[in-house]
């Protein structure tokens, strides 16, 4: 870098994404606290370690192949041609944003004085991957093996959410072109898919012992430590700020990007490279959070566990269109999402005997799905991309945002890339006898041996006088 303004822009962008990564780390801290708070005493340590170990597992697989998938799969393959090379094949050629540059053994996946962005952008997406896996983690506590969870975490964190991001989040994604799909802050791309994946796993895994009475009535297994849950959810809110910022490009000249001769327009953009402002999305983040909290407090009759979760669900529901909504629209959408997610959670629990320990399927899956559908109506007619505007199903241009495209997109996210793979992989693990811990261990508690081995020392220490 030899000119100062160019260097400042580059290093500002590098630092911007780096800060988002640090902020998003708090999402994982929050998820760990939340899960431990929701689990029973005899399962605490295993619950914590299960969620913690997804960090290295998803990170190394994201390095080996997850990041490559994101850059290779925008065309499907075989569904819509890339705007970079006009081919529907996997993007592995010499194009500027080809997956070729993001193979684990390329010089860009390391310290390179000519590349200030790849590492921080890779990390920002990696933190999204952790979030996707962590959403699944909460739903299945106290009865899944750590081995099975590791496999499932890699599947959702480094494979399936990456494919959906390539399809529906990448500027060249086929879902934007064919369906007019729009999901600026990941109602579907992260939340609906992870919620759907968790539901697929839960169908095979089954409920915790004691969750349902012999007549099938669900019993409430409330959080063991509400304060840990509370702080955990506050930290997730905090990390969510970083998540929103990470979904933007902080500074970009759209004139040359869109091929407009002589036009210069520096702005922040969303992930689709269409203009928005960090200031505007801050309105919407806070108003949708507030809508969620208001609706959650009302519908759950002041129950803190659901009220806090509803704040999150409110943001998740409005996230698809929070780059463009009016703040009051964001608030109302957040409220609608919470009411539907809450009602659906209890209906599914009662009807299908699904034991979602932390309400993750509802908060992320149902609220995300509903948010995508609502976005199709509220943003109907907006362009899904700045590069071109065309008809739905055409594929060579970008369709405008519309209700049908968003509904189909929600099904793809929640069902096709979420619930279906979750169910299939869980079935395979179940067939191998590796999915669920033995019944006697679940009753005794996963931490029994750890606690027993520490008992002698602990008793000696507690009665020691010198």
């Amino acid at each position: 870098m030899t000119d100062q303004l160019g260097a400042l822009t580059t290093i500002f962008t590098e630092f911007y994404y780096w800060v988002t990564v640090v902020l998003m780390f708090l999402i994982h801290v929050g998820f760990c606290m939340y899960e431990v708070g929701a689990s029973r005493y005899k399962h605490h340590q295993h619950t914590l370690m299960k969620n913690t170990m997804l960090i290295p597992l998803v990170t190394v697989t994201w390095f080996f192949f997850g990041w490559w998938i994101y850059w290779a799969f925008p065309t499907g393959p075989g569904i819509a041609p890339s705007i970079m090379n006009e081919s529907t094949a996997l993007i592995t050629d010499e194009s500027t944003f080809s997956a070729k540059w993001y193979l684990a053994n390329t010089e860009y996946m390391a310290i390179n004085l000519g590349d200030h962005i790849s590492g921080v952008f890779w990390a920002a997406f990696l933190l999204f991957s952790w979030t996707a896996a962590s959403i699944v983690s909460g739903a299945i506590i106290e009865r899944i093996t750590t081995f099975a969870f590791g496999i499932l975490a890699i599947a959702i964190g480094s494979v399936f959410w990456t494919i959906d991001a390539a399809w529906g989040w990448h500027f060249d994604g086929w879902m934007l072109k064919i369906l007019g799909y729009h999901d600026a802050y990941a109602s579907g791309v992260i939340h609906a898919i992870a919620g759907g994946f968790a539901l697929g796993v839960l169908c095979v895994l089954g409920p915790r012992i004691g969750k349902f009475s012999s007549s099938g009535e669900p019993r409430n297994i409330g959080p063991r430590n509400p304060w840990l849950v509370t702080v955990g959810l506050f930290l997730i809110y905090t990390g969510f700020w970083g998540f929103y910022a990470a979904c933007n490009i902080p500074i970009f000249d759209l004139g040359p990007e869109y091929g407009m001769e002589g036009v210069t327009y520096w702005t922040a953009t969303n992930i689709y490279v269409t203009p928005t402002t960090l200031s505007g999305i801050t309105f919407n983040f806070l108003m949708s959070l507030s809508g969620g909290l208001l609706a959650g407090y009302w519908i759950a009759k002041g129950d803190p566990f659901w009220t806090y979760s509803s704040g999150l669900a409110g943001v998740i529901c409005a996230s698809a269109g929070n780059d463009l909504y009016h703040p009051i629209q964001a608030m109302i959408i957040g409220m609608i999402g919470v009411v539907i997610a809450y009602k659906l959670h209890y209906w599914v629990e009662r009807k299908f005997k699904i034991d979602d320990a932390v309400g993750a399927v509802a908060v992320h899956g149902y609220a995300g799905f509903v948010g995508l559908v609502i976005c199709g109506f509220v943003l109907n007619g907006y362009p899904s991309s700045g590069y071109s505007v065309g008809a739905m199903w055409d594929g060579t241009t970008y369709a405008t945002i519309n209700p049908l495209g968003q509904f189909l997109g929600a099904i793809i996210m929640f069902g096709v890339l979420g619930m279906l793979p979750g169910y299939v992989i869980a079935k395979v693990l179940h067939g191998m006898g590796k999915l669920r811990i033995p019944r006697d261990v679940e009753i005794a508690g996963l931490d029994y041996e750890m606690m027993e081995s520490a008992k002698k020392d602990e008793r000696a220490v507690s009665s020691a006088t010198r």
Binding site: D115, G150, V441, S462
Partner: protein, 76 residues
Amino acid sequence: MATVTNWIDHLNKPAEEVAGAVYPGAGSMETTLVIIGIVLWLGWHVLTARSESEELSRLSRKRHGANDHKSNVTEW
């Protein structure tokens, strides 16, 4: 292995040569490192799956009751 042995010499090169990888073994070690990394990753799964299965079977055989863990709780 060192890719850079003198920063003054390195930064005096043409810009396109300066802008490049600077880690040890740049241009020759990457594929080997990826293979080693994948072996370590897969090996970790094998080792931890085995030890988890052993731990679960051992605990399962003891058939503790739902409240037995309480006798292991010490008031500090």
